[in-house]
Amino acid sequence: MDSKSGALVQGTLEMLVLKTLALEPLHGYGIGLRLEQMSGGVFSVNAGSLFPALRRLERDGLIEGEWRATENNRRGRWYSLTPAGRRRLKTATADWTHQSAAIARILRAGRGTS
């Protein structure tokens, strides 16, 4: 994801990370991979965006990190949602749905008049 996309995208990335973790705990690379898979390859997240987002989410107490072995038997940091993170994901999803529907309506209206 490009850092030039700004605050909206940054907030969105955090929401998407929360979403990937809603199903099961993942480690950093796993989160990136899952995002890519879930978006059908539209989003590829580089480390420079993903790891700061993880740090911020952890600082806000929305996710929790824990050192564990990875599938390849290496030590990795696994992240899981905290109850606060779960609540945040709920509100963020609702907000997003609401806003994107509104934006879509605006864009449709724009197309109609032009």
């Binding site: 690379y29 390849n72 606060a84």
Partner: protein, 899 residues
């Protein structure tokens, strides 16, 4: 929750930095490993898998930086790094750093201490918790244009009756008297208060109890202030319950009021020493403040009920006044808490002093900005290297701003030390005495001053840092590096103009300061007694019998004994008494006219005029009563007639001495001696007394006494409750002070003598205050100018070093050292004049404004206005020469070789 979690995790990161860093490394490494493993799983070679993983994840170092910046602790770290690098860079130029610190800490320190001083005099009111609900009652009589805070007991009862608005009415009035406690007599100032005074003000006792309404019945109790208790009785724990004597009356000490409470007179430089119930006044002779009022008229305050606004209280009081045909009002209590003679000049002086300290601060800032600009310019190669090595312009800007911040914050701390030092010095200065009491100046900086210092430091940082930081950012690294070390990096014309303007600003401001200081001091001196007082000076001591409750017949006998004792004192050749204080106060203003005049013929004296023969300049004289031998003892001379002698006694025909000016006014061209003069009160001159003029005082003679009156009456025929003993001898007046004091004390051991010293020492309170103010302004001005000189030196040294090549070429082409000096000095002096000339005009304007508002300055005093700017510009020229010396004397061969 989120905030807390942020704080805890950030702190952990700060404290366990290496662990956190290691974990970050490990996490990113594991992500890379996973990505590679992923590649291997789909069958890529290890090498391709690694490349693909790297592409996928992007720059891991950048990611690390981004992660670090995600927490707040990153900024703590960044600030710490900035401070360290700024401190390191400042340490490399110790001279610059020292000058900058000195300049700024004095600039800020002067502000902090002056603020504290003004605060101590004017703003630091008694911390009265109930002040917001307190109002002062004021009464104005339009026909007299007078405004008074004094209400009679009957009027107070009417106000008390309006219970819906006020729940308490309280009285406090000033009182000065000789208070003897613990075997020591001292002049003390206190307050006559109602029994509910301390309750209404909410002051708790330090020891014993404070006054209560029941104390008003007997009127025999007294509360001492903690300050007085410590100072005079050395904190005697047995004082509560002991008896003290105030103006001849024995009172019982019931308690001590805490130091935090200074009474209800706001300039806390004159805190109250004692508090007595108003009823005690009947038995005390009150001397100052209340003497002119009917005995039960007192300064009256009222406490509003909770929830009552000032407007409501004012309306209620106005209504009461209207019903009585008077104009009453309720005003904020502070309005009645300022001494009238202090309120106006005090406010002006404090505004002036604050403005001046702000000017010093401005000078300091301008100077520092200049130094920083010069420093940034000479650091171009360093900045160029930083820029080429990858520092962004923002980083460079941050470094410069960090340096400024480190300097200003350090200065703020130093400034506080400066302010403490100033307060300590001030506490040691001899303070003026008024009516025998010390006046206190307290400049101990408090928390507010500390806050102020930091606010100033912050402003300074903002003001100083901006320009140099921008200049640093403008640096072109390529240009700088290709020319590094060649000395060809020269300041732009724009930079030079900025320098010149900043120096001009400093010089101009300091010229204004020094000029005003010189004017103020000169003005204060002109209020002092004769400046040649060293030649004709006298030893003096003042006694006020009224304060000891001694009445007329006994008083006359005491004056007689004091006069004899003074004349008998060793070294005294002439002694006399005068009702005028050593600094010329206590003159009575009276109506006077030739005795044969028909009073009814004066329009001012017509019966229709209710005020009597008021204020016709021609008939106003100032009167003193003096003892026989006064002319001889005071150093005055007579142009006609004789001095007072034993024949001017009580029963004898009334006599008078007049000045030449009065003689010419009433008997133009004629012989004054032998004429008869009517002297009386303005309201009813015909009730006055008629005196035969026996002598005319030569106005041209030197007398050490300031402000002499125009009519003298003999002491035996006109009793005065207070007198000054004047003693002269062939030797120095200073040597007479001790013998005089001893002789007077031996004659009257129970009396209190104040203002003991020589006339030259005993200067007026006003002129002392002015002198102090002038000295303060002078110190500020000198400080400002010293800072400006450093600025001139720094800028000249810098600009001349920029012109090194030009000067060397000039010298190589045959210019003499003298010519080169002329060139450099010329531009330096132009820079000085650029500031000094407008400075003179600004000072002139301010002086004229001051003259209208505060005191009789002499704004066109040519000596000051010529000497001060010339001296300052000369000093600036010397600084220019010092700054230029090294570069001008350099050998052109050496200079050109190094180009």
């Amino acid at each position: 929750m989120s905030r807390l979690s942020q704080a805890v995790k950030g702190l952990r990161a700060l404290l366990r930095r290496s662990t956190v860093e290691r974990e970050l490394d490990e996490e990113l490494q594991s992500a890379l490993d996973e990505a590679m493993a992923e590649g291997r799983r789909v069958g890529l070679s290890p090498e391709t898998a690694r490349l693909r993983a790297q592409v996928r994840l992007g720059n891991l170092d950048a990611a690390k930086t981004a992660v670090r910046q995600a927490g707040w602790e990153f900024w703590v770290d960044a600030v710490r790094r900035d401070v360290f690098s700024a401190a390191k860079s400042l340490r490399r130029t110790p001279g610059f750093t020292a000058i900058a610190l000195l300049t700024l800490s004095f600039g800020i320190g002067a502000n902090a201490s002056l603020f504290s001083l003004i605060n101590g005099i004017l703003l630091r009111s008694s911390p009265l918790p109930s002040l917001e609900r307190l109002v002062a009652l004021s009464k104005s009589r339009t026909e007299q244009g007078l405004n008074t805070f004094f209400f009679s007991a009957e009027e107070r009862r009417v106000v008390v009756a309006s219970e819906s608005v006020f729940d308490a009415v309280m009285v406090s009035d000033p009182l000065i008297g000789a208070l003897s406690a613990g075997g020591q007599v001292s002049m003390a100032s206190g307050e006559l208060v109602s029994g509910n005074y301390f309750d209404v003000l909410g002051v708790p006792p330090l020891a014993g109890r404070l006054l209560q309404p029941s104390d008003e019945l007997a009127g025999t109790s007294i509360v001492l202030s903690e300050r007085f208790w410590r100072r005079v009785t050395a904190a005697d724990p047995g004082i509560v319950g002991a008896a003290v004597t105030l103006a001849g009356q024995t009172l019982t000490v019931v308690g001590i009021a805490p130091m935090s409470f200074n009474g209800t007179w706001l300039p806390s430089m004159k805190p109250a020493d004692f508090f007595v119930p108003v009823t005690a006044a009947d038995r005390l002779r009150t001397v100052q403040g209340t003497v002119a009022n009917p005995s039960d008229s007192r300064r009256t305050f009222a406490r509003m009920r909770a929830g009552v606004a000032l407007v409501q209280a004012d309306a209620a009081v106005r209504l009461i006044g209207q019903q009585r045909g008077d104009e009453w009002a309720a005003v904020p209590a502070e309005r009645a808490m300022l001494f009238e003679e202090f309120a106006r000049p005090g406010r002006y002086i404090s505004i002036a002093v604050l403005a001046l300290s702000a000017a010093v601060f401005l000078i300091a800032c301008a100077n520092l900005m200049n130094l920083f600009l010069a420093r940034t310019a000479s650091r171009r190669s360093e900045i160029g290297i930083r820029l080429t090595a990858g520092a962004s312009p923002r980083d460079v800007k941050r470094l410069v701003l960090a340096e400024v911040a480190v300097l200003t914050l350090t200065s703020a701390v130093l400034a506080f030390a400066v302010a403490w030092l100033f307060a300590a010095c001030l506490a040691r200065l001899p303070m003026p005495e008024l009516e025998g009491q010390r006046v206190y100046f307290d400049a101990t900086p408090d928390l507010r001053a500390f806050g102020l210092a930091f606010v100033f430091a912050f402003l300074a940082a903002r003001a100083i840092g901006l320009l140099p930081a921008q200049q640093a950012v403008r640096t072109n690294p390529v240009e700088v590096l290709t020319r590094a070390g060649t000395g060809q990096i020269t300041a732009s014309a724009k930079d030079r103009r900025t320098h010149t303007r900043l120096v001009a600003l400093q010089v101009g401001l300091s010229v204004v300061l020094v000029l005003l200081a010189a004017l103020t001091v000169r003005n204060a001196r002109s209020l002092l007694p004769n400046r040649e007082a060293g030649r004709v000076d006298a030893a003096v001591a003042r006694v006020n019998l009224a304060r000891h409750k001694i009445e007329e017949p006994e008083g006359r006998r005491i004056y007689e004994r004091l006069l004899m004792a003074a004349r008998a004192a060793p070294g005294v050749s002439a002694a006399a008494l005068s009702s005028i204080t050593p600094d010329g106060r206590a003159q009575l203003s009276r109506f006077a006219a030739p005795a044969d005049i028909d009073l009814a013929s004066l329009p001012e004296c017509s019966p229709a005029h209710r005020e009597g023969c008021a204020l016709r300049n021609a008939n106003v004289v100032t009167v003193a009563t003096v003892s026989p031998g006064f002319i001889a003892a005071s150093g005055l001379r007579l142009s006609q007639g004789r001095d007072f002698g034993a024949i001017d006694a009580m029963g004898a025909p009334f006599t008078a001495l007049v000045t030449e000016e009065v003689a010419a006014r009433f008997w133009p061209g004629g012989q004054a001696v032998g004429q008869r003069l009517l002297v009386g009160p303005f309201a009813d001159p015909s009730s006055g007394s008629t005196h035969e003029v026996v002598g005319v005082v030569d106005s041209g003679t030197d007398t050490p006494l300031p402000n002499q009156p125009s009519v003298y009456l003999p002491m035996d025929q006109q009793y005065a409750p207070a007198m000054t003993v004047i003693a002269r001898g062939p030797s120095d007046a200073g040597a007479l002070v001790e013998p005089l004091r001893r002789a007077l004390r031996n004659a009257e051991p129970t009396l209190l003598f104040s203002e003991v010293g020589t006339i030259a020492q005993s200067t007026g309170f006003a002129s002392r205050i002015l002198n102090t103010a002038g000295t303060t302004v002078g110190i500020l001005g000198a400080l400002g100018f010293a800072i400006a000189l450093i600025g001139v030196y720094g800028v000249v040294a810098y600009t001349v070093s920029q012109r090194r090549r030009e000067l060397a070429i000039r010298k190589a082409l045959g210019a003499t050292t003298l010519q080169v000096y002329g060139l450099v000095l010329g531009s330096g002096v132009r820079m000085l004049l650029f500031g000094a000339v407008p400075g003179v005009f600004v000072a002139l304007g301010v002086a004229m404004w001051l003259r209208r508002t505060i005191y009789r300055l002499l704004p066109f005093d040519p000596v000051t206005f010529v000497v001060v700017p010339v001296a300052l510009v000369s000093a600036g020229a010397v600084a220019t020469w010092l700054g230029a010396r090294r570069e001008v004397n350099i050998d052109p061969n050496v200079a050109l070789k190094n180009l």
